[in-house]
Amino acid sequence: MTTALEVISEKITTAKRFADVFGEIRSDDVAQNLRKLRKQYVYMVKFIHPDHVSKEEKMLANRVFANFVGLYEQAKDALENDSYEIPILPSNAQGMSAAAQDSVIASSSRKYVVKSTAWAEGDFSDIHLGKTEDGIPVFVKIAADPTMNQYLEHEVLMYMSMDTSSKKNVVQYIPKLVDSMFVDLGGNRQIRVNVFTYQEDYVSLTKIREIYPNGLDPRDAAWIWRRVLGQTITAKMLGVVHGAMVPDHTLVHPITHDPLYIGWAHTVLSFKDTHAHLTTCIDRWKNWYPKEVFDHKVPTHKTDLYMAGKTMLYLLGGDVVHNHFPKTVPQQMQRIVQRCVEVNSSKRPESGYEVLQQFTDVIYKLWGKTYRPLVMPR
């Protein structure tokens, strides 16, 4: 848990203006301003003076207090010279060296250096690549604005609620949530930030389809769709409905064919006795959502299957709205996908696992067990 000392230490090391530490001091009366500064100084000393903290915090307090006194002297000078509002130089030049174009996000216990420009645009967040202090690659989801914080909060909640015990074999395909923070923007506004482990070279199905604008060869789409079905099965095993099984949220590795399952911010629990609805739909994937969602019915595993079916139509270059496939797609394959996108959910298959088995049988009969690396021009 964060102590007052840590909070103040943080304030001192990250302050951009004196006001960030000592508060706004604005009157025209210099003597009064100095008194106000002194008062705030005395107040804060109570929390950070080495004599006032626990044994464990003594070391930190010595350092923080010395910095604090230095900053106080500077602030005093600034008030006297009417330069209190002028930005101060950050004192945390030590530690990680952030390149000029990088940004730093720091809580009291952790620090991340992230690229200032977004790597990808999510539906309610921007995704930036970065590293932890130990150099571990991460991707950082930054809410697009404070009203979007709720989605990232929900995502954390879902990560915590998913029943991952003894399910190592499926959990390995989900990026690990390593941190979640509120970053203060000033003006009493806070932006939610979620940090996940990042694995290189995975590409989203959206990216893949952009490279194959007329649709993929059914043999490529086949193995990819098996991963998509795997995501519906994973969700089921974890006790949830993914709720946003769209091409952005399934990633695959073109060479190893391993999947990476993301986009758990729309997920709802499917445990017995929960009747949560999906409350939002992603605009650009509106055609992926089955009727029951708009009818405010409780989503089920079959909802995920429907969306997985739409994704297959999209991969193959079919008509996602009317469920029409290109002629090159084998009939047996079409039939299986068609069942998943039935409007009436009772006509859809009961389980993704069952679909996966049937589908695997079909493609082995069609083409045998051949490996096809996915060609992805850089």
Binding site: K16, V104, D123, F124, T147, H277, T279, T280
Partner: protein, 339 residues
């Protein structure tokens, strides 16, 4: 709504003058019981809510807005069960309101809280299943608390219509805190019973005066309401069902760590203040209890109530950023829509 300022002194003197004139703190309840009044007081009637802008909001609502005097409003709504054994809660709230405000402002650091009080009963059998005040920045909410009809009597039904409060939170509130700053308000329900699983079309019409096509489940109402509210349910362990595991589990499934069990319901104000302080600053239970100035047995009860929340995912680490990653927002092409 939302002008004025909370003044502990005014609160105390208003109360003293009622006492000296022999007026009960809950004189509206006295009037209803004696037949001098028969309806929910107008200021608390959900049917009297209005829609300030039908192009933005689908339903009539209560607003928590910023003002010159209160530029950083954060709404705090407290709904309690007014039936059976929970009837004393409003009296407790009334007595301890000043302290609640002090802690929220001085310790939690919310400079401009706006408090709304309300009451829930059982929509299937009570005469006054839902009463709701206004968001107030001053003593007026104490006044509205006094107008609430305490159903008293009855008790022991096991189910109450808490979902009406969540319907209110989901569909009938508009707050500047959320709309302007993405800041969630705090919403508390308190009681000792289980929730009815949904709000029916009939109840929506009777209570809120709106017409809807279908019933709404408590889960979906909570999902919507939680977008702009931090919602907690406070369960009174000293109520009618201290050991009913089925009731506890039902709440726990709905709320997780935000299901808070209070051993002594007279400490509800301290617990509410503690939760807000904890959520705002991500402090642990010890620090929070100390900051509120509690000691001895009281401190233990409040701390025990808060412990499940500390170290939970509800508490979000605070961070700062340097650089432009968080502020160089481009025009966004993507988005989400409400279903």
């Amino acid at each position: 709504m939302g002008g004025g300022k909370w003044d502990t002194g005014i609160y105390g003197s208003a109360r003293a003058s009622r006492r000296s004139s022999g007026i009960d703190d809950f004189d509206y309840t006295v009037k209803v019981r004696s037949g001098k009044a028969s309806k929910v007081n107008e200021v608390l009637d959900a049917k009297k809510m209005v829609n300030p802008d039908s192009s933005r909001y689908p339903f009539p609502l209560r607003e928590s807005r910023d003002s010159e005097e209160h530029p950083l409003s954060v709404p705090v709504a407290i709904f309690f069960d007014v039936t059976g054994s929970m009837g004393q809660i409003p009296r407790v709230l009334q007595e301890k309101l000043p302290k609640l405000m002090d802690v929220i402002i001085d310790k939690a650091g919310l400079s401009d809280p706006q408090v709304l009080v309300g009451a829930v009963g059982d929509a299937t059998c009570d005469r006054y299943p839902f009463q709701v005040g206004q968001f107030e920045s001053d003593n007026s909410f104490d006044e509205q608390l006094r107008q609430i009809i305490l159903e008293g009597g009855g008790g022991g039904q096991t189910f109450e219509s808490y979902a009406l409060a969540y319907h209110f939170a989901a569909h009938h509130t508009a707050t500047d805190a959320y709309e302007k700053r993405g800041k969630k308000g705090y919403f508390f329900t308190m009681g000792d019973e289980a929730p009815w699983p949904k709000v029916t079309v009939e109840e929506m019409s009777e209570v809120f005066g709106i017409s809807a096509k279908e019933d709404e489940t408590i889960e979906s109402l909570l999902a919507i309401a939680q977008e702009k509210w931090n919602i907690f349910h406070l369960f009174a362990v000293d109520g009618s069902f201290p050991d009913d595991k089925r009731i506890h589990n039902r709440w726990r499934t709905l709320f997780g760590e935000r299901f808070i069990m209070i051993k002594d319901s007279s400490l509800v104000c301290e617990v509410i203040a503690g939760i807000i302080h904890m959520m705002e600053n991500a402090y642990d239970a010890d620090r929070v209890v100390r900051d509120i100035g509690l000691s001895g047995k009281t401190a233990t009860v409040v701390k025990n109530a808060l412990v499940p929340l500390s170290n939970s995912t509800s508490l979000v680490v605070r961070a700062v950023a340097e650089g432009v990653a968080l502020t160089n927002n481009r025009a966004r092409k993507r988005g989400v829509s409400r279903i």
